[in-house]
Symmetry: C2
Subunit: 386 residues, 2 copies
């Protein structure tokens, strides 16, 4: 297939996604997920990619050298991904080993928990090559068992069914893994997905170091409570707020299995924050880590208001010198948006704060220069003035 002249520079410059407007013409009779040669209007080869005329993203580039897309290609990509992570993820046996286009494989996400691999195949291209990809993953990671959780809505846009199940080996009913001194669990085949966000690992450790035994810690939008569990393990009195009762159930069980207690508050985050304010609660550290509030650029102003409201409550309840972490996993919500929201919140709470850190996703969720969207997790750590 041939690109339009205006799109050559961007895609030749390693940006992996081509939309309908980028494509001049494609050979007739291409099936969804076919690997195609991608060419400049003059005919010279740019590289190879998956093509799906019906998909929201018809072109996903795989290479820029025109090499074959075969088992060796997939093995190299997995090997490079493992090399990229080598020595950079410590004190856990749970990490993302393949992060889609950020590891040069658009559509493949794989997380490893000890010997068990969790795989998601997201588009028609990787679906067509599923056998090659799974073989490469199996051989390169050495995982003794694997399961698939390709039950993401994204697949429907590619004309694919949702799929989940065992891929190879004996997948345990309950997978156990560790992060520092926490032992954690999940049931791979539960209909209700209650996962664990690997990408907040470094922030969990950061926050844990900021609380002393006995100090109150608040985890807003806790989900299954990674932050709460870490803080509780450090001796803090953790309180978790979430509106997902199933996630809070998991959190309660994990707390018990790790020999700690976490106070649970079920409900809307902002309402629960107001309630805590009325109860005159104070905290030494607070985490505000909502789910994606800005899926599109248009959502940013609304997301900003929610962050501002949450941060205002949090700053009011924070002890002087205490810390607030505010996190966004939305590509469109930028560090400057977080800072703006926090600044307005500090004004409303009549205080000020030092921005003691600005952090990003960890090394197993790479940020690739050529793919701006691969930077998605951004957090600011504030220390309330004394």
């Amino acid at each position: 297939m041939t690109l339009k002249p205006a799109s050559v520079r961007r895609i030749a410059g390693r940006y992996p996604f081509g939309h309908a407007g980028d494509i001049q013409d494609a050979a007739p009779g291409l099936a969804p997920g076919d690997v195609v040669d991608v060419r400049e209007p003059g005919g010279s080869l740019i590289g190879r990619g998956y093509f799906n005329a019906d998909g929201a993203t018809p072109l996903r580039m795989l290479n820029w050298d025109g090499g074959d897309i075969d088992l060796n290609f997939y093995r190299s990509r997995v090997r490079e991904a493992l090399a990229r992570r080598a020595g950079r993820i410590a004190d856990t046996n749970a990490l993302r080993v393949l992060h889609a286009e950020a590891d040069g494989l658009p559509g493949v996400v794989a997380d490893q928990f000890g010997e068990v691999l969790s795989v998601q195949l997201r588009n028609a291209g990787v679906e067509r090559h599923r056998d090659l990809i799974l073989r490469a993953l199996r051989e390169e990671t050495g995982a003794t068992s694997a399961f698939e959780r390709s039950d993401t809505g994204e697949r429907r846009k590619e004309g694919l069914e949702l799929v989940s199940g065992v891929l190879w080996g004996d997948v345990p009913e309950k997978v156990t893994f560790f992060e520092d001194d926490l032992t954690l669990h999940f049931a791979p085949m539960d209909a209700q997905k209650t996962g664990f966000f690997l990408d907040q690992r470094d922030n969990r450790r950061l926050m844990r170091r900021l609380v002393q035994p006995g100090q109150p810690f608040l985890d807003v939008y806790s989900y299954t409570g990674g932050f709460s569990l870490h803080a509780a393990k450090a001796g803090a009195r953790s309180t978790a707020i979430d509106k997902d009762n199933v996630a809070l159930g998991v959190l309660e069980r994990e707390a018990r299995e790790n020999g700690v207690q976490v106070g649970l508050r079920w409900g809307d985050a902002l309402e629960q924050l107001s309630a805590l304010e009325k109860e005159k609660k104070t905290f030494q550290a607070v985490v505000l880590d909502p789910p994606t509030l800005a899926k599109r650029k248009d959502d940013v102003p609304r997301a900003k208001r929610i962050f501002t409201d949450g941060a205002t409550s949090a700053l009011r309840m924070l002890s002087p010198g205490g810390h607030l972490l505010i996190s966004t996993c939305a590509h469109y919500f930028r560090v400057d948006d977080l800072l703006d929201a926090a600044r307005v919140a500090a004004g409303a709470a009549q205080t000020d704060a030092e921005v003691v850190a600005i952090t990003y996703q960890p090394a197993d969720h790479p940020h690739l220069l050529s793919v701006p969207e691969s930077l998605y997790l951004k957090s600011i750590l504030l220390r309330k003035q004394t």
Copy 2:
């Protein structure tokens, strides 16, 4: 003095600077640097600040509680600044103890090198209170000697002379300090200022860890060569480029005194980079740390081109898997501008890179939430694809 209605929210929200357009009226007869009560149009007090009708920034806020601006005030500010840094700056005896408005004292900058304090007073307000401020600094830091380097052009805009000289104690002719295993020196009273950028401390350590003995390291816009010296001390073969011959002379002397060698290339950075390319040089790590290229927003496009050209050369000469640090100390040049410049450079160099870190100024140069300008040093660390 009274603020205009539209300016109340911003300044009451802890933003410390008021411009001519923010001010509704001021009492007649105020002298440059007088401390004034700052009020809303309705008359209620917002706080206190320095006033200088003729200055580019007529109002600089000092507090938001209306408390007295006396010795106790200055002592508290210095104490708070020291507390803010406690335990956060290690393995050196050189740090910035007061960073102007980011530490709640607009116009006062103080760096401590062991027992010696270096002080800069930048505006008419702090000049009027110089005795109080110096006493507070002397008592709270315990520095046995101090000198003043108030020879910044900023003072002229405030109607002040440039001043430098001994403030108290026996200031040594040559001040010695250390950073990790480097012993460094400067002559406090040299007409030609050849300082050492304390704010790049963490980045120097970051880069040093990325080179092995014998590997080639390139320090572009080296100035007195902090990066080069650290890398050389780690065994790397450092090359430093700068157009400032005096700075290169200091670098040469410091290298000798630390028992290492650094290759020096005097000249324009981009020209020297081209020359190195022609010589077919390769490097394991490169630092691109130009002086402020964007003093105003309008300078950003030009700065971007310089960063892009420099990064293109650097990426071409970088070994696969090698690291490139790109740094900007300009408030107006943002992380996204650095990433954009690097992305264009990677395209031109026909390569790609992982953004392995985005870093900011260290803890002795605080980033205060209420003062967006206090975030000024931003760096991206790239790892060239293998």
